[in-house]
Amino acid sequence: MRWETGLVVVVIAIAIMGSSLSPQFLTANNFFNLGLNNGEIAIMALPMALIIISGEIDLSVESTLGMSSAVLGVLWADHWPMLAIFVVVAVVGALAGAINGLLVTRVGLPSLAVTIGTLALYRGIALILLGPRTVANFPTIYTNVGIVAIPHTDLPYSIGIFIVLAVIFAIVLHATPFGRSIYAMGDNAEAAMFAGLRVKRIKTTLFIVSGVASALAGVLFTFRLNTAVQDNGTGLSLDVVAIVLLAGVSIFGGKGSIGGVFLAVLAFAGLQNALLLTNFNQEATGLVTGGLLLVSVFVPNAAMFVRSIRRAVTRMTRRMPSEPALSMPRKDT
């Protein structure tokens, strides 16, 4: 069975469960809120999926988001024109991603370590820029993005952007040589290099895309809350990674699809929302993220796990037919 098929079942199950728990679950208003709360995460999940498929990871996205938010706040407080600010924020995001990418591909450091480092570093820059300040006087025309729906729909703008980006990412990943190369290097970077694929260049590009997407998420986040503070977006990286793994993207690289990411966003948002509607302890939503993450990693490997246990048991029983299989001290052989 394809992973995506399983996700469809999960999404339907959550919808049924949610609507039976609360009559408000399957309402347009609730969908709007649900989308609003998860739009930025969903946008960052798209480049994250590509990066993890390519065999790397980017844990710094939440800090890139926070740093972009801080730049936006500081420049707005300095009375810069909004369009100029957008350009600067995009450049900041691209630079943040480029630093990650170059450290991983040119210096050859593991992306896990590099992006944990920049996770702290970029957050530190946000703190230096804003300090304890809060910038909150953004014009309504922008803050409305986080309040009103796209005309004639019930979708918030962030989800609209996510859908457009998802289509673009899907085409790039599934139908272009660039996307094919991402799968190849995630499965076997050495073979990809021997086939003449530009592994380093492509990975660097992915990190830059991730940085820019995180900057965009930072802008949306700031306008939605009408606040630029230094701790904007703290903790979101884990949600993003959880969604991508739930989407069926292999943590070891080489496998996954944008369709899966789309379904995983639905499942993730739906589950959190259903729990909120049932007055589940709000503080405990981290349980959901963590649990989903572990289940997503475990399930694809469950078959292998069961097989290895069975093999170990048969080996032990064969060697020691007279003794119980599992409680055997290794004193012989």
């Binding site: 040589p177 094919r180 190849a184 073979a191 290099m193 086939a195």
Partner: protein, 609 residues
């Protein structure tokens, strides 16, 4: 060897060997004081207990206190007459073979500490060892020689407990034994010394030796002083000076090997397998290693020595086993043999016929390597390959052939020299540039370098040609499918569906997929590294015919192969590499397996001198 040793390992599989070995070793206090040193040093005497109980009338004579009461009876037929000989020659510890060879046909002689009998091992369709046998006697250095791919490494891995043989038996001290993993091998008294040992770099030499078995003092604390003393004693037995207190990082490879050997001694290993130990050593270090081997033999251990350098085999070993194509060919005392005899036994096939008729005269030069040098890997390599000819790069594994190919294709960088392809000088370290210049590269390791195993057959075939299969940036699915189908048919790949994962194919068909991937780019230069390694006979012939046909169509082919029949069958010219340099060049007419092997092992220079 102190009391700490007693509880150190002692896994019962090794009991016979361990019990026998300890008393025999000179460092053991009891026998040393009970008997004069020469007696206890006499290797065969010390290790006689593992002989079948009934065959050891000699043991009580000079080793009453040593014999292990627990020595188990062995299934081998008792032979009483000859075994007393060797224990009674205490003054000839270095020549156990002088008595052993006389009765090489029987189970007796110097005690046989280990024998592998008629083992076989297959990996999928590849039969790495078909019928391998080795017999090791106490106190001998025994050479195992054969061409690349003859099955030596697989035999070593069977002894190391890494591979379990599919059939055949392993006898340790006459006892049928199964080795479950490396721990089992250690337990059975077998130690493997690899070409490049893997020590814990940040631990001291003594800590490396006693890892997991450290001598303890009160409160289960590690007794560092005792550990150093014991390590010193081990090095003294080997006649080597290494400071047990220094950390392992920075030790020369030769010293690292000695540390591993000391560790093997501390584990009471009675069989020490050395897999090409001299390949990375200087002449002085080789001489020291030989002294260590002599010390081990005097200690009563059996050494299995694997080397491509036949002169070393003659220098240090008493007997030799030759393998060819996974089979045991010959076991014989080395006295009376010549290098020529060994090379013939290793090669020993009929001359293969030319695969196809004459190809036309070669055309223009397509690929030129000029004074290519990568420090420590290959030096001053110059050659050219013309359109329509197959040039083979022969030599032993590790001679630098694959590294030259990788440098040409841009996978690795090089320090000096140039590569010219299709009239243009190539940028260093850029596979893309090499591909643009018309080079295709079928790498050595199909599974790791040639294919993306999780991808389908179709995607693998298309992987190097994606740029030509797209329209407006999008890969056209139909174009990809017909491209892959076309090339799969041309190379007669046997497959179910093109969308099946390439991992489902047999090795030979996987290799055809790799070839298809590169031929799909219509290269003018094709580099193939071990194109038929590990693939079945039928597909092998297909690949040979294909390479011949490609050359006939005017492609310049550079082929690296360790299989001499393949080289002789296909190549117009043969370049032989030895230790990073081009050692000889033969035309097809001049070349023979003997001459190539001689050049690859350095015999040629020796003869010329």
């Amino acid at each position: 060897m102190g009391p700490g040793e007693e509880d150190g390992h002692r896994s019962p599989g090794a009991d016979a060997g361990a019990d026998a070995g300890e008393p025999g070793s000179p460092a053991e206090p009891a026998p040393d004081s009970a008997a004069p040193a020469p007696v206890s040093r006499s290797a065969p005497a010390g290790t006689s207990p593992p002989e079948p109980a009934g065959t050891s009338p000699a043991a009580p004579v000079d080793t009453p206190s040593m014999d292990s009461p627990g020595t188990p009876p062995a299934p081998a037929a008792p032979v009483n007459t000859t075994s007393p000989d060797s224990p009674n020659t205490p003054d000839s510890p270095n020549t156990p073979d002088s008595t052993a060879t006389a009765d090489a046909g029987t189970d007796a002689g110097a005690p046989v500490v280990l024998s592998l009998e008629h083992v076989s091992k297959s990996f999928g369709a590849v039969r790495a060892v078909i019928d391998g046998s080795i017999e090791l006697r106490a106190g001998e250095a025994h050479a195992l020689v054969g061409e690349n791919g003859a099955g030596k490494s697989t035999m070593v891995k069977i002894l190391a407990g890494v591979h379990q043989p599919d059939s055949g038996t392993l006898l340790v001290n006459g006892q049928p034994t199964e080795l479950h993993g490396p721990a089992g091998a250690i337990g059975a008294g077998i130690a493997i010394i690899y070409q490049e040992p893997t020590l814990f770099p940040d631990l001291s030499v003594a800590e490396n030796i006693f890892m997991g078995r450290q001598p303890l003092r009160r409160g289960r604390r590690i007794d560092g002083r005792e550990m150093t003393t014991e390590a010193d004693a081990l090095f003294a037995r080997l006649g080597v000076r290494i400071d047990p207190g220094r950390i392992a990082r920075g030790l020369s490879i030769a010293d690292q090997q000695v540390v591993e050997i000391a560790k093997a001694l501390s584990l009471n290993a009675r069989v020490i397998v050395m897999d090409e130990p001299t390949a990375a050593l200087s002449a002085v270090e080789v001489a020291r290693l030989f002294d260590v081997i002599a010390a081990l033999r005097a200690d009563g251990a059996a050494v299995l020595f694997i080397s491509h350098r036949l002169e070393e085999v003659f220098e240090i070993c008493q007997r030799v086993t030759v393998m060819r194509d996974g089979r045991h060919v010959l076991t014989s005392p080395l006295a009376g043999l010549t290098t020529g005899d060994l090379v013939r036994a290793m090669v020993g096939r009929d001359m293969p016929e030319r695969v196809a008729g004459e190809r036309g005269a070669p055309g223009a030069v397509q690929l030129t390597a000029q004074r290519l040098t990568r420090e420590g890997v290959f030096t001053d390599v110059s050659f050219e390959v013309r359109a329509g000819e197959i040039v083979a790069l022969a030599g032993l594994v590790g001679a630098g052939r694959s590294e030259v190919a990788r440098a040409i294709f841009g996978i690795d960088r090089y320090d000096a020299g140039t590569v010219t392809a299709g009239g243009r000088q190539l940028r260093k370290g850029s596979p893309t540039a090499a591909m643009t210049a018309g080079i295709g590269f079928v790498p050595e390791d199909r599974r790791q370098q040639g294919l993306v195993m999780e991808m389908s057959i179709q995607q693998n075939v298309a992987l190097a040609s994606l740029a030509t299969l797209r329209k407006a940036g999008i890969i056209r699915a139909s174009a990809e499918r017909s491209f892959a189908a076309d090339w799969a048919v041309r190379l007669s790949v046997k497959y179910g569906r093109l969308t099946d994962p390439v991992s489902m194919l047999s090795g030979g068909n996987q290799q055809k997929v790799v070839l298809a991937k590169w031929l799909g780019r219509r290269p003018s230069i094709l580099i193939v590294d071990e194109p038929t390694r590990g693939i079945d006979v039928g597909t092998k012939a297909d690949v040979h015919n294909l390479l011949d046909r490609l050359a006939g169509e005017g492609i310049a082919v550079l082929m690296i192969s360790s299989e001499l029949p393949e080289v002789l069958r296909l190549a117009d010219r043969i370049l032989v590499m030895r230790e990073g340099r081009l050692a000889a060049e033969f035309t097809q007419a001049e070349a023979s397996e003997e001459s190539i092997m001689a050049a690859a092992t350095g015999q040629l220079e020796a003869q010329e001198r």
